[in-house]
Symmetry: C2
Subunit: 460 residues, 2 copies
């Protein structure tokens, strides 16, 4: 958890930028199949950032004369079913709030505050409540709240302070343990589901959750592959994209790709080294003032050189990158902001990723770039280039036709079945350059092969 | 997954009871903190029962002239991000549907069907859609849909057929492996989170999910304790209430309680044997025609005898049970229906648990009984008596005052810190008597102690 001093500074910073009252809600749990059976609860990220409070349904009101935390009073039989609970005053005090009120009083407060600004959440019931009580629409996908508050929250949250970096670093240690365990558990004849169970299990054994559904797949070329339906076969690559999230809410997002049999084949190694070179090159560019699209294109350029060397593309490097020919094998962006959200601040659409005057390109590949700002100190971004042999791309004439002059389809045929390789780390942009928060996770060919050969460290 | 023949029979059975068109929706995924980050998806149980289909957002229309499955057409770039997908026709065929239409056509269909009957889901967006398109309210907590459809669904779903029992039995095998692993992983100095990670990990390694958040706690006296914040200490009891859910959707729900140090103390053993005697006695009563409340009271009677023997209560057994004195130490009901939901059919409130003319008692303890029907063949119920030393009960004069003449508060003080013991299995009611679907899980003192001493079987 962030210390109360940290969240108090967040509230001060937001109040400094926005005059007048602001109400931010935590959201309520979503249901699984019956009312008693909840899906895992996650409070709204901006609410967490302002309060550190993980109580479902809570709310915070920032006002000129101070901040009020609204907490639900436990029902009368709560001690029986959920054990003894501190009073709401005591809960608030722990979080650094002098003023705490029962949540049931919130409906009286809202209409009294003229000029009240609000934010939508991902919880439909909370959005409906906000809509009813403010008369303004609140919707996760279309009406995310007061634009000036959103702008201020983006400016503030996207620069992580020392507390937040420390929190992320602590989470990264658990993510490292999970990746090491997954590598150690890998063997021919095992299964994606088993390796995934180990990865997620290490995170759970530390009392944390995954920041998103871990991808654990021998079909790394399927980019959003959340199924774990395949056994692990000799010669295959296993791609694992997963990261822990702290009780603080701060996320990590790390991808490694390794050979099921423990040794990269020469071809696998050649690709791996190219992706790694691209990644290291892009990481080195994570400095204040650098435009993130240039960091993306730098990875693209390294990969394009590899594609030319392998006879998959021909032509002038700069021109190939400009046309986006690399996207035939690297169809996504090189990364995104990360913080309290694994794609930080994406609740507010592209506003966080694309600064004023910048919009997404329509070019295939570049249209999947989630971030194009000039980096500033405190930003944390992922750097995650990849190489994928995707039949749905290579067999799609709509995509390949513009590259008929430079793409060697016949050479690509020999690559079908290769799968995909991605290497991803979380990088803190400091005034003096990049600080890789996930640097402890095996990454070079030698480190990865050693981690696969290592004994699984018991996490139970 | 259930075979298409099984779900076709479910549709036939429902169509036989309800004339006129019925629309049942799967529901859509709920969001975590950002739109790309979904919470684990679970389709509506009645939808699963009718279709076996796990596609988010799907719908089924039962009509006099046949059944139509509505499936979302994958977006154009789906193969790129999610891999190659079968056509919606092929998906429908696999599930036994000759007639499949794109989900986008559903809005045209709904208003054309006069007399269309519908059911709410736990997904707010789907409920809103249904409300908008039918003009009738749909709400998880208040407006669960057409009463005659609900009544028919309860009558049909609450009796599991051979396919469903087989599916549950297969899931129970995984639950057994998970409980055995959790026992084997238990040792002094470990942690609730670690044992929980092993339990959930075994289930995940089999490609399944938990049917609900597993309770893993050394404070078993806190009944709904989903935190895993305690280390495991010598002398403590660890209570684990958890069960797998199959890809079919069928749930298991099993509780075991065992000593952290591997050996029950004499007092722990005495309580354990009493709870076990109560459980076995109640299980034996799971026969067609038996009223479930009597099964509850039978467990209560065994436990009351134990409480009298221990000097915690005095008085006539029958009178103590009738007054509910046992609820001071056994404050919940002895079980509930289980099937596609872990508390089966609870989406429709108490309608499933309490038949016509029966309502919940207001007596402390009995007011927590979720089921009071006369059992029929095909019912699957949990049997889960327990003994808990709950300070919030024993120190609550409102609860204890009515028992001033029979409850020995001073004797109870010596029990503070004992924790709680619950033993729970899933029982299929057959024409010839009870069939315990979870019988393979260690349960006697000797079995449990042996399982703790056993080596953890690697699940990776």
């Amino acid at each position: 958890m962030l210390p109360p001093a940290a969240t108090a500074r967040h509230r001060d910073a937001l109040r400094e930028r926005i005059h007048g009252p602001i109400l931010v809600m935590a959201g309520r749990p979503q249901l699984r199949n019956i009312p008693i059976n909840h899906l895992p609860y996650r409070a709204d990220s901006t609410f967490l950032w302002l309060t550190g409070c993980r109580v479902p349904g809570a709310a915070v009101l920032l006002d000129g004369d101070g901040d009020t935390l609204f907490l639900p009073r436990p029902p009368a039989d709560d001690a029986l079913w959920h054990g003894p609970q501190p009073t709401i005053q005591a809960q608030g005090q722990t979080l650094g709030f002098g003023r705490v009120r029962p949540l049931s009083e919130l409906p009286e407060v809202v209409p009294q505050r003229s000029g009240l600004r609000t934010l939508a959440t991902t919880d439909p019931a909370t959005n409906r409540w906000l809509t009813e009580h403010t008369g303004r629409p609140h919707d996760t996908r279309t009406e995310q709240g007061d634009p000036s508050v959103i702008e201020a929250v983006i400016a503030l949250r996207s620069k992580l302070d020392a507390f937040e970096i420390d929190a992320t670093r602590a989470v990264a240690e658990v993510t490292e343990a999970a990746h090491r365990a997954a590598m150690a558990a890998t063997r021919i004849g095992s299964h994606e589901a088993r390796v995934g169970a180990v990865f997620d299990g290490v995170i759970a054994a530390h009392g944390l959750t995954t920041a998103y559904d871990s991808i654990v797949t021998v079909h790394g070329e399927v980019l959003h592959n959340f199924h774990r339906s395949h056994p692990l076969a000799d010669g295959q690559l296993l791609l694992l994209d997963g990261g822990a999230e702290g009780t603080s809410g701060y996320a990590t997002d790390v991808t490694r790709t390794w050979p099921v049999n423990g040794r990269f084949s020469p071809r696998q190694k050649a690709v791996y080294e190219a992706v790694l070179e691209a990644q290291l090159h892009s990481i080195q560019m994570c400095r204040p003032g650098t435009r993130y699209r240039d960091i993306h294109l730098a990875s693209a350029r390294v990969l394009t050189r590899f594609l030319v060397d392998e006879g998959l593309l021909t032509g002038d490097l700069d021109s190939l990158v400009e046309r986006g020919a690399h996207a035939l094998f690297f169809p996504h962006g090189v990364g995104h902001l990360i913080g309290l959200d694994v794609h930080d601040l994406e609740l507010y659409g592209d506003t966080a990723g694309y600064g004023p005057g910048r919009t997404r390109s329509t070019q295939f590949g570049l249209n999947a770039l989630r971030l194009d700002r000039d980096l500033v100190p405190g930003n944390v971004v992922t750097i995650e280039p990849g190489f994928y042999v995707v039949p749905a791309i290579l067999a799609n004439a709509d995509i390949t036709a513009p590259f008929a002059d430079c793409f060697h389809a016949s050479a690509a045929e020999a690559w079908l079945g290769f799968g995909g390789i991605r290497i991803e780390d979380d990088v803190h942009v400091t005034p003096t350059g990049p600080d890789v928060l996930t640097a402890g996770i095996p990454k070079t060919v030698a480190e990865v092969e050693a981690a696969i050969a290592a004994e699984l460290v018991p996490f139970w």
